[in-house]
């Protein structure tokens, strides 16, 4: 379980996070929703200790993040983070060199699943393929938690579909996933849990099925209520 406890963050004078609290369980897909600039990426960065938080704490399976934790949690940012001049093979080798949890078999599987050519340079890949390669590098790790920042934004429909397929596949099974999006549409039925962010706080925190069952509302209905009401 990833526990985010009351974290605050300022950028200059702007208070981006004003005490955000939520949890993300293993085996569930938690979705951080909010309009752009609400601090979704900042939360993911904070979980990965890529940006300092002013207050609050973040625990991963009850512990603070340590260097070794990176073998058990991976973050797939919205843009690929390997050097453009590397080929896919080289970037896979790079990951393999440092991560004990790198699963080469799964990497090869993903390679064929996404139909990527391993000899291609990262810089020469299309947007969709870059996103897939990015996903590949994260998913080929045998980690407990996967964080994804806007995995669907700015890519073509077919790639979106392929990526969406990942969420229902064994690649995600039993892992804890946190994804961020500013547009729920496509993935409404893929997620377990929604964390609605607005103005630096968590507005609402719910399981999608529970809301549908108890209130007969879609996620968008809830969002509309929360943001407009």
């Amino acid at each position: 379980m990833i526990e985010v406890n009351n974290i605050t963050k300022k950028f200059g004078r702007k208070q981006v996070l004003k005490g955000v609290t939520f949890t993300a369980e293993k085996g569930e897909i938690t979705c951080l929703i909010g309009i752009n600039g609400v601090g979704k990426t900042t939360i993911l960065n904070a979980i990965m200790a890529l940006t300092p938080i002013k207050k609050g704490e973040i625990l991963i399976d009850g512990e603070k993040l340590k260097p070794k934790t990176f073998n058990h949690i991976t973050f797939i940012p919205d843009a690929i983070t390997v050097l453009p001049q590397m080929t896919i093979t080289e970037s896979m080798q790079f990951m393999k060199d440092y991560y004990t949890t790198w699963n080469e078999e799964r990497a090869q599987e993903l390679l064929s699943f996404f139909k990527l050519n391993p000899e291609d340079k990262i810089a020469s890949l299309s947007k969709g393929n870059t996103a897939k390669a990015n996903l590949l590098l994260g998913l080929a790790l045998d980690v407990d938690y996967i964080l994804m920042d806007e995995p669907f934004s700015g890519i073509d429909m077919f790639s979106r579909e392929q990526i969406a397929n990942v969420f229902t596949s064994h690649l995600i099974e039993d892992r804890g996933v946190i994804i961020t999006t500013h547009e729920i549409g496509d993935i409404e039925h893929l997620i377990d849990k929604v964390v609605l962010l607005d103005d630096g706080v968590v507005k609402k925190h719910f399981y999608t099925e529970e809301v549908r069952e108890a209130e007969g509302k879609s996620v968008i209905d809830v969002m509309r209520e929360e943001y407009q009401g």
Binding site: G27, T168, H189, D192, E209, R212, E213, D221
Partner: protein, 131 residues
């Protein structure tokens, strides 16, 4: 398998209903293996946990059964299957009646229209089969 999900209704409920329809329509035969939770999730592009929930619900209702580690199968229990069929018909009729009543059409007229429509649809189906 393709379902157009309603966003406001729990997905698992819709999945269960879908299975019931399939059973009632004999698309799924008694004793037939159903897809694994992951397969179905992938096919329907929904969360595997939701499928899990749906399967659990179906199991409780006796629609499917699981033996040891084998894949789940559609029940062979005729009684249950009968209930499903009836439930489905009743659901459809309920819905129909509610709609029709609001238009305030006499029952006789409705029955006639239903008859004609039913026969014509069957005839159309027959023609299609010939092609």
């Amino acid at each position: 398998m393709k379902i157009n999900f309603n966003r406001r209704e729990p997905v698992y409920v819709q999945v269960v209903r879908h299975f019931k329809q399939q059973i009632a329509m004999n698309m799924l035969e008694p004793g037939q293996e159903i897809p694994s939770r992951r397969e179905l999730a992938g096919e329907l592009k929904i969360n595997p946990n939701t499928v899990q929930r749906a399967y659990k619900e179906m199991e409780e209702q006796g629609l499917i059964y699981t033996e040891r580690n084998l894949p789940s199968k559609i029940t062979r229990n005729e009684q249950v299957l009968q209930v499903v069929r009836e439930e489905l018909i009743m659901d459809a009729v309920d819905q129909f009646v509610t709609t029709v009543q609001s238009v305030q059409v006499p029952l006789d007229e409705i029955v006639t229209i239903i008859k004609e429509k039913y026969e014509q649809t069957n005839a159309d189906k027959g023609e299609e089969d010939h092609d």
